[in-house]
Amino acid sequence: MSAAPRRSALGRTLILVGALAALVLASTLLGDVRIPAGVVLAILGQHLLGGILPGGPCAGASISATQCRVFDTIVWSNYVPQVLLGVLVGAALGMSGAALQGTFRNPLADPYLLGLSSGAAFGAALLFVFHVGVEDADLVLPLFAFAGSLLSGAVVLLAARSPRSSVTTLLLTGVAMSSFFSALLVLTLLYNPTGNLQVSFWLLGGLEGATWIQDGIVFAGVLIPGSVLALYGRSLNLLQLGPDVAQSLGVDARKTRVRVLLLASIATSVAVAFAGVIGFVGLVAPHVVRRIAGFDYRVVLSGAAVVGATFVLGARDLALVVFPGIEVPVGVPMAFAGALFFLYLLYRRPGRAGGWGGW
């Protein structure tokens, strides 16, 4: 890419970052309890900048001290962690989706196509159903989901290392693992009906249970593989020319595929473990970025992270506005929008964005 288009792409990416920042602030003002915006901002200022407001964050808001403490807990211990979790999870899913679409050269590749979601759901169901380690559930539950997700990812990774592996066999291995873990999930749920409700909610994803500790873990679990993944932009660009051409230009297609798969699996597993299964983010975000900022994977990877985060936060806010008072899993509005986009992808006129092989 020449300098001018690249500057333009970067400029558009910066606009996306600005939009995300604005959405983060707006999302913090929005929750399942109505709190005056001034109080929310004052509470944020109080925590981020220290005790700058004389009389505390609720001074002048005609709110009792007890009510103020309650609002403080809601904003700082619930809303902010939820918003941050949404950003991190969306970024992980968006970036992983972009990396996998680039690796597989397939516009329909998605982090969940590797069976990661089914594996995670199976892991979570084991905890719900058998009440294993219910103590400290906020950390034990993600651990179970993470283990299940990695188990599925490990099988696909092993397949990727096989000399007989191809893009098609890898995708089909993911589909097979997905079916396998779905069957295990159903079998597990038969043993405890009360787990059904929780697992079905979990399968649609959500940010409701976010805590600061979780955010810290997800931050580390997404930042490390995400940062390394971002370095594979050039390799993914060359892979789009075909494995042989990429090989001749110094990119080992098989090694790149295995490493990208590993990094995307880790990032996705961490995201799924803490927020459940939020579908379509990894599928849709890369397409949006390619439309806005072009096909350079050095931009697409980070851009998909930003767009993914925007989507997840947008879905959370949409659910809160459209269904006030009802806890609608984030995955529901996301699935509605994602499904429509998926259909658009399937039925659009070919050739406009390079067709199937051009991704």
């Binding site: 009440h131 409701e208 249970g209 008072g325």
Partner: protein
């Protein structure tokens, strides 16, 4: 098949197939015959030997008077049968299938022990009602909760000429009607008279309490009553509670409280930790049973941050008092009143 193969081979293949068909026909015939025999043995109940009642769905049903063999489908119905001293009539009770916990999937360990349910044959009702199990206990009448598949029960009743009475009270007063309904089937006794009087007395005392609170200008306490927590850290963390139109809401109001989830959009909403904190309930009541205990709630979001919990205004009660609409729910009213207004003394 090759051309030089003997022609007899297809015939030999046909022999086992024919045998299988014959066996299937015999088995099918036996099943039909069995059903016919069953129907033949069970004539339609004559009006003179029975009593006509109207169940909670408004259906008029003829049932045998004081039936000896009763199938009970629903813990709320079993509670009434037990309190009326009619347990000895029960020849079958509902249960979940083995993978869903069997008898203890439907009844708490306390109910199983107190009502001596372990020795009563089990009729699988969840996830699907087993007609075969129901037939196997050869009931004179089936008393079923409305949570069971009513269309299937009506078809069962029409096919096998076994009356089915549905219990579906819409108010706590309806529970008293259900007890009277059972009394009209089994006949009045000193126990049934005493139970009806006791239930009416408790409901009457509840009305008096509300009047007294109103006359004294005592502010009604706000109550958060939850029956199931989803742990913090789970994507759908929160607490299941009772919304408008639910029996839980009625219970809170009759005990002199106001339900913090009274304006929720559904009858069985889940509140997030933030919503509970914002509602700032004066009293928290949580249900215990079916594997859920205080430790489960302590894993819920913001549990310890709820001011009422921090101040000790939190009490655990048997979850069936909240969720099963039966006499036990009414008889628990004084306990709820004591939780809300401990200074009032025994009702």
């Amino acid at each position: 098949m090759s051309l030089n193969q003997p022609e007899a081979r297809p015939t030999r293949r046909g022999v086992p197939l024919a045998l299988v068909i014959v066996i299937l026909l015999v088995v099918a015939g036996a099943s039909v015959g069995g059903t016919a025999l069953y129907l033949e043995l069970r004539p339609a109940a004559s009006p003179s030997s029975g009593v006509t009642v109207t169940d909670d769905l408004g259906r008029t049903i003829s049932v045998p008077r004081d039936p000896a063999r009763v199938a009970v489908l629903g813990p709320n119905v079993m509670d009434s049968m037990f309190l009326l001293g009619l347990s000895s009539h029960v020849v079958g009770i509902d249960c979940s299938n083995a993978t869903l916990g069997g008898l203890e999937g439907d009844y708490t360990p306390g109910q199983v022990a107190n009502w001596s349910l372990a020795s009563i044959p089990c009729i699988t009702a969840y996830p699907a009602l087993s007609t075969a199990d129901l037939l196997a206990v050869n009931p004179d009448v089936v008393l079923a909760s409305s949570v069971l598949p009513i269309a299937q029960l009506e078809e069962f009743s029409a096919t096998y000429r076994i009356p089915v009475v549905i219990f579906d009270p819409s108010t706590l007063g309806g529970v008293v009607y259900d007890v009277e309904l059972l009394t009209s089937i089994f006949g009045a006794s000193s126990t049934s008279v005493a139970l009806v009087a006791q239930l009416q007395a408790v409901l009457g005392e509840s009305s008096s309490l509300l009047t007294n609170l109103s006359n004294n200008g005592t502010p009604l306490r706000s109550v958060f009553m939850t029956y199931y927590p989803v742990p913090a850290g789970s994507p759908d963390a929160g607490y299941y509670t009772f919304g408008p139109g639910s029996f839980g809401q009625s219970l809170i109001e009759l005990a002199g409280g106001t339900n913090v989830a009274g304006s929720a959009p559904t009858a069985d909403p889940e509140l997030s930790g933030s919503q509970v904190l914002a509602a700032n309930p004066g009293v928290v009541i949580y249900g215990v049973g079916f594997g859920v205990d205080l430790a489960s709630y302590q894993q819920g979001p913001d549990w310890t941050a709820i001011p009422a919990v921090a101040n000790g205004n939190v009490t655990g009660v048997d979850v069936t008092w909240m969720t099963e609409v039966d006499p036990a729910m009414i008889l628990a009213l004084p306990t709820f009143e004591q939780i809300l207004y401990p200074g009032l003394g025994p009702a």
